[in-house]
């Protein structure tokens, strides 16, 4: 009985250690995933605010607008190149007040 219970206890301890390890790994993986998610969102936000993603957004909107089932009111426009878009964007942005004192 004693040997059995010792063995059972040892098995239980080993199993608990394994489970703890697995739980710990799962916890770490979750933390890692969470951090990656936060970093990804921050990077996305930074690209949007800095204007890096402006041309991608413009192209994405262009393809959506040309789909009549999504947007029936808009006329599809011919896409302009990244360089033309960049210069046009700057011209519009800097021809009105866009900075405060």
């Amino acid at each position: 009985m004693g040997a059995y219970s010792d063995q059972a206890q040892a098995d239980h301890d080993a199993c608990a250690a394994l489970c703890d390890g697995a739980r710990g790994e799962r916890g770490l993986a979750r933390v890692r995933q969470r951090l990656l998610w936060i970093a990804g969102n921050l990077w996305w936000w930074l690209r949007q605010v800095s204007g890096d993603a402006d041309y991608e957004n413009y192209m994405r909107r262009g393809s959506r607008d040309s789909c009549p089932s999504i947007n029936q009111n808009r006329v599809s426009r011919g896409a302009i190149s990244a360089e033309e878009f960049y210069l046009e964007n700057l011209r519009r942005k800097h021809s009105r007040i866009n900075r405060c004192c």
Binding site: S50, R92, H94
Partner: protein, 684 residues
């Protein structure tokens, strides 16, 4: 709201009230800056959670089911629905200029208490509300500008006042920020080298974003940041080199000419070459440094050495003359309540708002952040020994030309400082002298360097931190200068195009050069006026800026009040009428005092009379007669400009008041000019 949430809000309220109470009753012994930061953070949190919610849902009745202009008029260019956090970033980056840093530094001459209370309460009850309600008005009117809305909802006079205020505010703000840069860089080879290097760095970034990696602002900004940091570090070697230092050492007049030429070049050069890359770099450095400063204050937990109230509450301040009321409220605008913000709230932001409810986060939330930045600037000024603060900021015309004379004057005010203190500090930060650097930037830089070196390094690197702070301030001051000159040029071209069509064409080079020249000459005149002023220039220019800024705020708040009355929300009219009345009281009192006060240190006309009497008495040396005559003319010009601003405030107020009375008495039909209602199809 469940019990746990109630307890949490109760705790925040208790910490805020405790912090404010401690600040208010602490007398005679220095307090830790963390008290200020904690109290302010709690007030902002409560203001955002409760007051802005009240304004949003009780007063304005924001409706997320109603399509915004970004959705209805979406064109992929101007009208684009944006994520609320992205728009928050855009809006905050647009409203956060040098104003919330410089204003609190100057107002610290009254002590830390008046400025801090105005920043916190003004932000929560005034600035946040103004920005929020103007954004709401613009969203309900297809993203119209402040001037258009004032014309439609109040009258043509109000629309004209808005246009006049915009042109004058652009002129005066450029002159005043130019003066801040001049005073920070004069006789400073290290500072000048660092700032001068930002121009070729911007060219490089511009070429990178135009030809190598089109539109990749993050990469270009990182490249620019590394190069700018290299020039901050390299500047030390320039300043220590006997051979090179003279090439980078300039007087105030020389620097003023360079700034004028720079402004002109920015207005006529292609925008991708200089303006856009500088703007991108400045935004990155600005946001990064603001977070760094917040972290530095929390890590260093510095003690405020400035008393809560100084003797200068009586109006005899050396940096600018005038009592707490009205001058504290004119000096600190952008951190508490700034009319300029209404141009941003009725500019790009309303065209990108996806849902009406998001206006609360974007406008009110950004203003809370801006107010917090102003509070950090106040902390940075007040951690300095008061004697040092006054030695750095007081003009030579007030404290004396010679260091010994200056420290004797300042010490006699009860703020002990020695020439040894000042020369030790100057050598620590790598400058020859820090005396008479009126304008706020150098004392903010010393304060920031003190905080950074206390938390992120030793005093050995204080010089690097000081010049990093100068670079940070000058970078986005010059961004205002170049962007402002260009916008001023567009406004002028728009106006002159009515008289002669070619002048209105933005691609016609003779027209560009002519109108750029006029705009630069206008602000350049005021810049030189400030540089030549024996009282430091800030004494006359900053109040002018404050008054013109609050003229714009008066237009904005009159519009907000009119719209509330038209919406049949008269019972909530104090939400905007309260800040308006306070603002008008402060602006009108300041205007009257600046024009007619008999004290020559305060009143423009009294100062002109004082100089004229000296001329008549023959006490001015022959070599100074022409300069004195110019000073007399400048005083009279400033008085006339102030009079024009004050008159416009009165005209707008009377015009609005007349309309309110007619609406209330039923003698005029209420016509709300909102865009038609359309149901939103966007998901939040």
């Amino acid at each position: 709201m469940n019990l746990a949430k109630k307890l949490l809000w109760f705790l925040i309220a208790a910490v805020g009230a405790g912090g404010l109470g401690f600040i208010a009753i602490a007398r005679g012994e220095p307090i830790n800056a963390v008290w200020l930061v904690a109290a302010a953070a709690c007030v902002y949190t409560i203001g955002y959670r409760f007051y802005s919610r009240f304004v949003a849902y009780r007063v304005l009745e924001l409706d997320d089911q109603r399509a915004t202009p970004a959705e209805r008029l979406e064109d992929g260019r101007d009208f684009v629905p944006a994520n609320k956090w992205v728009l928050f970033g855009h809006h905050f980056a647009a409203i956060a200029g040098p104003g919330p840093l410089v204003g609190p530094i100057l107002a610290a001459q009254f002590g830390y208490l008046p400025g801090t209370l105005w920043i916190v309460l003004g932000g929560v009850l005034g600035g946040g509300v103004q920005d929020f309600v103007v954004l709401f008005c613009s969203v309900r009117r297809d993203g119209k500008s402040l001037g258009q809305m004032a014309k439609d909802e109040i009258s043509g006079v109000a629309g004209f006042a808005a246009l006049f205020a915009v042109l004058s505010i652009v002129t005066i703000i450029i002159a005043v920020v130019g003066l801040v840069v001049v005073n920070a860089l004069k006789s400073s080879p290290w500072g000048f080298f660092t700032i001068a290097m930002t121009i070729p760095i911007a060219f490089l970034m511009g070429i990178y974003m135009r030809y190598i990696r089109v539109g990749h602002a993050i990469e270009a900004s990182l490249l620019g940041f590394v190069l700018v940091m290299a020039s901050v570090v390299g500047g030390r070697y320039i300043s220590e080199s006997h051979a090179l230092a003279p090439y980078f050492t300039y007087s105030a007049i020389g620097l003023a000419w360079m700034i004028v030429l720079y402004g002109f070049a920015c207005s006529v050069l292609p925008v991708w070459l200089l303006l856009a890359p500088r703007g991108a770099l400045s935004t990155f450095v600005k946001l990064g440094t603001i977070f760094l400063l917040a972290g530095g204050i929390l890590a260093a937990r510095p003690t405020l050495l400035m008393p809560p109230l100084t003797r200068f509450v009586d109006g005899t301040g050396p940096i600018f003359a005038g009592k707490i009321f009205p001058f504290c409220f004119i000096t600190i605008a952008c951190g508490a309540l700034s009319g300029f913000h209404s141009l941003i709230s009725s500019g790009t932001t309303p065209k990108m708002l996806s849902k009406e409810g998001q206006a609360r986060l974007v406008a009110y939330g950004s203003m809370m952040m801006e107010s917090f930045v102003a509070l950090m600037a106040m902390v940075a000024a007040c951690v300095l020994k008061p004697g040092i603060y006054f030695a750095v900021n007081s003009p030579a015309g007030v404290v004396g030309q010679v260091p010994a004379q200056a420290v004797a004057t300042i010490s006699s005010w009860g703020f002990p400082v020695t020439t040894q203190d000042m020369s030790d500090l100057a050598s620590k930060v790598g400058e020859v002298t820090l005396f008479n650097r009126t304008g706020g930037a150098p004392s903010l830089a010393v304060g920031m360097a003190h905080i950074f070196s206390g938390s992120l390094g030793s005093s050995v690197v204080m010089g690097i931190w000081y010049h990093f702070a100068i670079m940070f301030e000058a970078l986005f001051i010059l961004t205002i200068l170049d962007a402002g000159t260009r916008v001023g040029r567009f406004l002028l071209q728009d106006l002159l195009g009515h008289f002669w069509k070619p002048l209105g064409r933005t691609g016609w080079y003779p027209g560009i050069i002519f109108t750029s020249g006029i705009v630069v000459a206008a602000w350049g005149y005021f810049l030189f006026q400030g540089v030549m002023d024996p009282l430091g220039g800030i004494n006359s220019l900053w109040p002018l800026f404050g008054i013109s800024n609050q003229l714009l705020a008066a237009v904005a708040l009159c519009l907000c009040t009119t719209v509330l009355i038209k919406m049949e929300k008269s019972r909530y009219v104090l939400v905007t009428l309260g800040p308006l009345l306070w603002l008008v009281a402060a602006t009108m009192t300041a205007s009257v005092q600046k024009i007619w006060d008999p004290n020559p240190a305060l009143g423009f006309l009294a100062h002109a009379r004082y100089l004229a009497d000296q001329l008549v008495a023959g006490s001015i040396p022959v070599s100074k007669i022409a300069e004195t005559q110019t000073l007399i003319f400048n005083d009279r010009l400033d008085a006339a400009v102030t009079f024009a601003f004050a008159s416009l405030v009165l005209v707008i107020l009377i015009e609005s008041g007349r309309n309110w009375w007619l609406y209330a008495s039923g003698k005029k039909r209420v016509g709300l000019r909102e865009a038609p209602v359309e149901l939103s199809r966007l998901t939040a």
